[in-house]
Assembly symmetry: C2
Homo-oligomer: 656 residues x 2
Amino acid sequence: MHKQSFWIWHYGDYEIFHTMELNLRREVREKPYPPFWRLSTPNVSVKFTKDFNCENNTKITVHANGEGYVSINAEKFSFNEEITLQKGSYTITVNVFKKVGLPSIFVESDIIPSNGSWYSKLSDSNKPMPVGFDTYYDSIEKNPETFSFEYSEIAPISAEIISDGVLYDFGKETFACLNIDYADSNQKMSVYYGESREEALDFEHTYILENISKSSYYRLKSRAFRYIFIKGATTSLKVTADYEYLPLKYRGNFCCDNQLFNQIWETSAYTFHLNCREGFMDGIKRDRWIWQGDAYQSSKINNYLFFDDAIEKRTAIGILGNEPFCEHINTIIDYTLFWIIGLYDYYFTHGDITFIKNIFPKAEKLMEFIESRLNDEGFIVGRSGDWTFIDWSDIDKTGAISAEQMLLIAVYNSFAKIKQALNLDPAKELEKAKTLTEKVNYFFWDSQKGGFIDSYESGKRNVTRHANIFAIMYGIATPKQIESIKNNVLKNDNITKITTPYFEGYELDVLGKLGEYCYIENMLENYWGGMLKLGATTFWEEFDPTKNGIEHYAMYGGKYEKSLCHAWGANPIYLFGRYYLGVYPTSPGFETFKVEPNLGGLKKFEGTVPTKNGEVKIYLDSTHLKVTATQSGGTLIFNDKKYALEKNKELIIEVI
Amino acid sequence: MHKQSFWIWHYGDYEIFHTMELNLRREVREKPYPPFWRLSTPNVSVKFTKDFNCENNTKITVHANGEGYVSINAEKFSFNEEITLQKGSYTITVNVFKKVGLPSIFVESDIIPSNGSWYSKLSDSNKPMPVGFDTYYDSIEKNPETFSFEYSEIAPISAEIISDGVLYDFGKETFACLNIDYADSNQKMSVYYGESREEALDFEHTYILENISKSSYYRLKSRAFRYIFIKGATTSLKVTADYEYLPLKYRGNFCCDNQLFNQIWETSAYTFHLNCREGFMDGIKRDRWIWQGDAYQSSKINNYLFFDDAIEKRTAIGILGNEPFCEHINTIIDYTLFWIIGLYDYYFTHGDITFIKNIFPKAEKLMEFIESRLNDEGFIVGRSGDWTFIDWSDIDKTGAISAEQMLLIAVYNSFAKIKQALNLDPAKELEKAKTLTEKVNYFFWDSQKGGFIDSYESGKRNVTRHANIFAIMYGIATPKQIESIKNNVLKNDNITKITTPYFEGYELDVLGKLGEYCYIENMLENYWGGMLKLGATTFWEEFDPTKNGIEHYAMYGGKYEKSLCHAWGANPIYLFGRYYLGVYPTSPGFETFKVEPNLGGLKKFEGTVPTKNGEVKIYLDSTHLKVTATQSGGTLIFNDKKYALEKNKELIIEVI
């Protein structure tokens, strides 16, 4: 009887392989649409190795995804060959190559089953490092090149004959492989995908379509849709779909007296789940790419819903890719900075020091790249080809801009803490953070305007909300500055409003910190509630109440280019968890954490927030507060009083 | 009528793709055998771009090796689609990705045919660079993933029935695809390849074999062999082969009064041709890998036979591969150093500044890597995993060893000259070469022993020929030191002899410089002549006259692991061209060159040496010297007299 084995690969290759596959799946009207940034590929040739002692005679069989050979104490064997070993000590090296694919092995053995105890290297000149593996791939049949999705059959709720075809409505947004059966193989058909009914019927502009013929059964690629129109179809067709999803455990929940808010929470959870796949996707229809800015916000949502660390790691490894790091992540300056900030956030929330150890060498290289982009003042600036994004807004992007410097300060502080976690000296980064903060205040703080200006080089002294929001988010602004920003920028209607839900996510986070519950609840009601009123089954990339009809679906110059299922639309999950239930870690991995529940404008709520090794259940109404934490280290803060939370013991407080 | 188009790719991808393919073709008894170093892969996603004006309406069709789309002024089109453009100015971008292979395009157009005027980039954040292309790929049908080999049918000169099969002798070593026709498809057969008759018949030890069945016709992979034994074959089989070769033009030749030497020259030329493929191979049977040390010597031979610059570039680009450069080439310290030295040699001989410009950014990165491997003294030393090779000999490899430092001095000087050629300041490198030379003399020169010692750290003060040979090769030793090395090292029988033909190549080069013709002719007679006496049709990896029978075929512990067709075995081509015909450049690209013919121990010879833009024909006997150069800039040096060579004018000198 063999011990449990898993497929193993060179650390990082699995994530880089699946990120490459994902990034290359985007299509526009039957045209493949690769990303505009450099793509990393997995390594083509890997050596897996392990030293071991064999007490009794034993048999070993090496299976491989790729070509090559097995070497045991320099004797060569083939893959799939049963190798018999006598008592003795051995070094096994498995040489595997696969020209783009995922070189990996599965070793059947009762003494050296393939698992995390194996090592791999790309060259005999490398120091072997621990392999990567995923417990999902626990049998020879489960090829790690096939991602670990699960499937469940779904059927349309209606089929409507329209002119020369049939329109199928699946009732809500989904992501699935369409199955078309009992087709006439002589009949050419065109399949139009629509997130909206209008898109499915607008043949000239449908974003995704596929022409099919010559078969009586079709199984199409997994794609996003609610409506499917099949031109040339008759009702005699059998049309179903296999919903493709990641089996994630819902660990967080929230329920309150406001039914709209509950519906918003549920719809956010579904929206987010659809976007949690190989990594954190931005939206399931159009890009299907991983964008670091979107992923950074998805992490915050994940922490209050799934608390899944695997997807966080897949996203971070996959989007960073392989060296050399000679361009910004997604070509965007701010996104490179968010990668470092997000890395520490991940460690602080999930307390996963093993991952930090594994990724640190690459993180250091990314820091080197960041510092290669600084000007003489030590400010990060855009070089030719760099995209200074921050937000779609009227930010003055002349020279060094304050919003990027705020992120750079956060980067230095985050990297310093990462080094501390690894027992390395953080002095250099802390010093840089300090110096940069002083410079930022000197060059960008405008005491007349009571906020940070975008650029000092242009002389325009334009103020936008963005840098000021970051200054509060990352604890850069002093209490005095925060007060000033609140009154002169955030609550100042003459300062351009945030128009994108992406940056609105940051603004709401800051307003939450500042206790502006009223503003948050108005947003929930009008912005998210507004989408639900229009029948949204998942939250959109953007929503403007002043638009009408199909205007809502237009974006980036395309009639239906807006994503109607966009990860950042699920932000309410974070808002309810972080500012209503009020749970957050105060040391890495929730070793200590705080619970600061707040009713805001609600009458009552109850909910659960997942923690590293447990969860916190909270019930709050006008008369009672009940809190139970299944992990120790918690401190309840309520009405300016502190209460230690005992593990598994419900704490009940009467609200006076 | 369209203008001539060529397949184009991202610069370097073609060479890296074919080097990867080549390196992954090694096999040992049906087991694939990947290299032990890190393999580079071509880029998976490339954007080809060009700005152009269109005077009249025109049609363009883009063909691609890969998936993606065409964008012209932001409008999207498909591959193979005839695109009609009106008068106007345009930017075309072709987005192509291919997961396994070489992303490349072929554009049919009368205004923007795909050729060297196109640019490509890996990311929108990159500055586009000129594409790579090869005039061989001049039609849609010629896929650049198929290397530009040519084929000619060859047949065995004998078929001999032996026990249960037939032995075919092709008369001489070759590299070909075997064709087996009129086979009984129910008959399982085993094909054994042999560079020697013994190997083909030694079924347990044949290095390359293939089991075949279930067909009446087989075409096997291209492999090296002279003999083929097919177990299970009958004489009713039709066995032929397609000789696979690169159509290289023989530009150099040599003929003298010594018939053995002429046979050595011819056999060397054939041996070398067989090894000139995607790049300079070490040997055609066993490794089929590109080793920088071997390639460095192949360049010297190429310069006197084919003068083919394309193979030099393919080798340099392919073996260097893609960043990051975090290990030595082939994991060997000396080989990384030879890459830089060889790069300048290539420029000096072929005067190809375009290539130097293209490769310089990577060359700089390689220099950074080299300098990351220096110790506090500025000596290059082996770090964990690095292979300090130099030669298979009893070199004292303790700490910093002198042979590597000699190469490092040459690297600094070569890189300085490369920078000069690019109008960059070479001061830094020249200073380093000077300082390092002083240190090497201080730490390694032993005046008692009259030569350079291997290591000063061990205290053994062991002297081998290697560092001393390099010291003379690279002009590091002073005239006084050269004289001392000659007497105390090279001509000192107590100093271990060079036993490998690899390093013998360097020793003979130095002895040629020192005018030791007698030694060279003895080597030709006994070493190369010795192989011919044993019936060699190509020159071997190594030859030891004291061995007998199949002992000659053993190496690295394998009964037939020695390569019987090894590139460095062709070294006589270089010796005759460089030291007998005596032609060599004295400034980049043969703008000036010298002709120093020397009869050595010969009665007469005539021959041709190719130059950048012509050739030099030389006839010399005891009474006359005749020299014709078809390129200007030549100076004849004969009997201590100098004569300017006029282009295309024969110069005749009476030998007194």
